[in-house]
Amino acid sequence: MTPLLEAEGLARVYASRRGVFGRPVAVRAVDHVSLRLGRGETLGVVGESGSGKSTAGRLLLGFEAPDEGEARFDGAAMPPPGSPEWRRLRARMQMIYQDPLGALDRRLTVAAQVKEPLDIHGIGAPEDRAARAAELLAATGLSARIGARRPHELSGGQRQRAVIARALATRPDLLVCDEPVSALDVSIQAQVVNLLSDLQAELGLAMIFISHDLRVVRQISARVAVMYLGRIVEEGAADDIFARPVHPYTKALVSAAPAPGKTGKRILLEGEPPNPAARPSGCAFHPRCAVAVPRCRAEVPSLADLGAGRRAACHLVAPLSGQEAA
């Protein structure tokens, strides 16, 4: 069966200048990203700032055209942004951002905004649309009373629920969430994470969940890809990848994640978060890597299949053999 979403060698290159008269430098925000997402699957994408995870999300959704490579949705190449075909496709793929207030129109009531995509894409009979909007609000835990309010009268969690309700209005096949709970308090974050999990399971949505928070990503995803400086450095099943990380960067991330009762020495990464405009040669992680060898400086490791659904891009990682992993 064709996967719902398939990306092959995606790259996005920006020209960046240092200062007004600086020489422009080509910045590869996303480089060589390949992945597949089946119907109803959830893929988590984790990375720190500069990892290119948000740009990757926009490329996968077709919001931006890649400079290299290709994304295919439901077996067909992604149409160019802005084309009529592309606009039709919007109903099938939706995006949710970190800042719900910025994503909502402050002049319209929440219910009106949830109904809007139904009007735009001509979904259902016009007279049924208000009822459908109320149904969507109810599904995300918002009452009709809250639906009658405007975005600024809602709490952060309620706003994010409204954005989710609107994204689901067109019954999309794919939902891309970019840091959807990062701005929320822990108790509200849990509410929204649970809601997304429930909706995903009920509606059979495929979902890409982008976040810097490993714990949240693991909670919601079946599979996880770890990005560093524009590339996927490791990919695997969510439970497996954080329990037995093989790439030195993933190991450091897991070790850095705070957890109650955590004991033992952390792997502390030296140095600063990487700057995409000054990408190190070879493996981009080598300057901060404790186990780097000369080869790492010279040669970019490719994302190799290690078996057991795991891929990693590291010269020092051997294929997982049956039981003994890493």
Partner: protein, 328 residues
């Protein structure tokens, strides 16, 4: 032993809306105390009020004693000597917490001039030493750098160097790693822990992240709607919370290991301080609320060795490993 800091009955209200309702909290010399809670819980306000850093329209009452001496409402000159001297504070978002038009060296040097009376070459040499101490790479050159020329992690290191300038007995870190990447957050937390070991200063770590607090602190106080609702040794709190809100917070936190379980989301939202419910502020969201909870505010009372909780029906639990250690 006299506590380093003893806060009692600290209340704050902004234009009639109460933000803090009689907080009692004390801190031993050299101790690391974590303060957790969601936005609006009053965790930052507690310390801003204690140090007189709230805007003039805030009404503050109660008592804050530093080694027995009252500092709440102390004259400005006393507070100025104290702030950045015996008690230093660092903040979230280091980039905007440093003055954009002054060099790092100047900003650290200012604290050195105020609290250590250093000037000229001695001041710059000490500023450089402090930058080295906090692990700032290429410290000599960083003295003449401006905040916008540094990364977030480097700016937070500069903030910490500035806080250390007055050789504080207490460092209050208000969400010091919230704006930073995970790997940088780990660096900064490690730095704070090692500095505490070296200097013997006490640390108050304010954070919304239970994981961050649990790893760094000996004792944790959980705040909700302007009150401390539970206080316990860090490990004991996570193993067996006694207040339903603390239990809810722990359950809401996804874990990185072990089997995945559904998060126990706390229903509803934090109450608006202007529409605070009568009785226990958590009652409307509490799964165990009974009619008594709406009638009166539960006091923070002893519920075990070194443990206090503000709940009429504290959760029963078998003594945890940590508690057994304490009683033994």
């Amino acid at each position: 032993m006299t506590p380093l800091v003893a806060i009692s009955g600290l209340s704050v209200s902004f234009d009639g809306a109460a933000a803090l309702h009689g907080v009692d909290l004390s801190l031993a010399p050299g101790e690391a105390l974590g303060l957790v809670g969601e936005s609006g819980s009053g965790k930052s306000v507690t310390w801003l009020a204690a140090l007189g850093l709230l805007p003039p329209h805030a009404a503050v009452s109660g008592s804050v004693r530093l080694e027995g001496a009252e500092i709440l409402g102390a004259p400005a000159s006393t507070l100025d000597r104290l702030r950045g001297g015996r008690v230093a504070m660092i903040f979230q978002d280091p980039a905007s917490s440093l003055n954009p038009v002054l060099t790092i060296g100047k900003q650290i040097g200012e604290a050195l001039a105020l609290h250590r009376g250093l000037d000229g070459r001695a001041r710059m040499a000490e500023a450089k030493r402090l930058l080295d101490l906090v692990g700032m790479p290429d410290s000599a050159r960083r003295l003449s750098a401006y905040p916008h020329e540094l990364s977030g992690g480097q700016n937070q290191r500069a903030m910490i160097a500035m806080a250390l300038a007055g050789r504080p007995d207490l460092l209050i870190a208000d969400e010091p790693t919230t704006a930073l990447d995970v790997t940088i957050q780990a660096q900064i937390l490690e730095l704070l822990a090692s500095l505490r070991k070296e200097t013997g200063m006490a640390l108050v770590l304010i954070s919304h992240d239970l994981g961050v607090v649990a790893e760094t602190c000996d004792r944790v106080a959980v705040m909700y709607a302007g009150r401390i609702v539970e206080e316990a040794p860090a490990l004991a709190l996570f193993e067996a919370p006694r207040h339903p809100y603390a239990e809810g917070l722990i359950g809401a936190l996804p874990l990185l290991d072990g089997p995945r379980r559904r998060l126990t989301a706390i229903p509803g939202t934090v109450p608006d301080p202007r529409e605070a419910p009568p009785g226990c502020a958590f009652a409307p969201r509490c799964p165990k609320a009974a009619s008594a909870c709406a009638g009166a505010v539960p006091a923070l009372t002893e519920v075990g060795p070194a443990r206090r909780a503000a709940c009429f029906f504290p959760l029963r639990s078998t003594p945890s490993r940590a508690e057994r250690k304490v009683t033994a």
